[in-house]
């Protein structure tokens, strides 16, 4: 199924959506998350973007995967395999319920994730890992 591309005008609610999501993530992940950052186009005020809130979670180590995968799955995220934006083994990807989310971990040092609040998004549910450049 081809994925539609929908770019919308900047939405003032995006930072708030991130903050709300980050609270849930922090609550579930605790100290496992060294940082939780709003990244990507929706983090740039005024920038038109696909309505997907990209979130990057930094972790101290990429293994064991379940240290962060399990809490994220608990929040409704789905681990996916099609994040091929970087060298393999440096990040993991998860997709969220309302839409999709990707979580990636930089080489033993960070993980990132991206909830998508778009109603029209298509969320693959396969497993895998790759890297998300900062």
């Amino acid at each position: 199924v081809p994925q539609a591309v929908r770019v919308v005008a900047y939405d003032q609610r995006w930072p708030t959506l991130f903050t709300a999501q980050a609270s849930s993530l922090r609550e579930r992940l605790g100290d496992v998350a060294l940082r939780i950052d709003h990244i990507g186009s929706t983090a740039v005020p005024g920038l038109a973007a696909k309505p997907i809130i990209d979130v990057q979670i930094s972790v101290a180590a990429f293994e064991p995967l379940d240290a962060f995968r399990a809490p994220l799955v608990g929040l409704g995220y789905v681990f996916r395999a099609d994040n091929t934006s970087g060298p393999s083994g440096t990040s993991a990807s998860l997709a969220a319920p309302a839409a999709h989310t990707s979580t990636s971990a930089a080489r033993g040092a960070s993980a990132s994730n991206s909830p998508c609040y778009s109603a029209t998004s298509c969320a693959p549910t396969r497993n895998g890992r790759s890297a998300t450049p900062r």
Partner: protein, 43 residues
């Protein structure tokens, strides 16, 4: 991008154009954005 609104403006215009051109092909859309992304990173 946050620090350089002029880049953001250009990027927004490019994204809207590409979103129209590649409305049904997200991968093509993403690929088409890359030259601009690299240009910004190199600036």
């Amino acid at each position: 991008m946050r620090a350089h609104p002029q880049w953001a403006q250009r990027y927004a215009a490019l994204k809207l154009e590409l979103a129209e051109r590649y409305a049904c092909d997200r991968h093509a859309y993403t690929r088409a954005k890359q030259p601009f992304t690299w240009e910004v990173l190199a600036a």
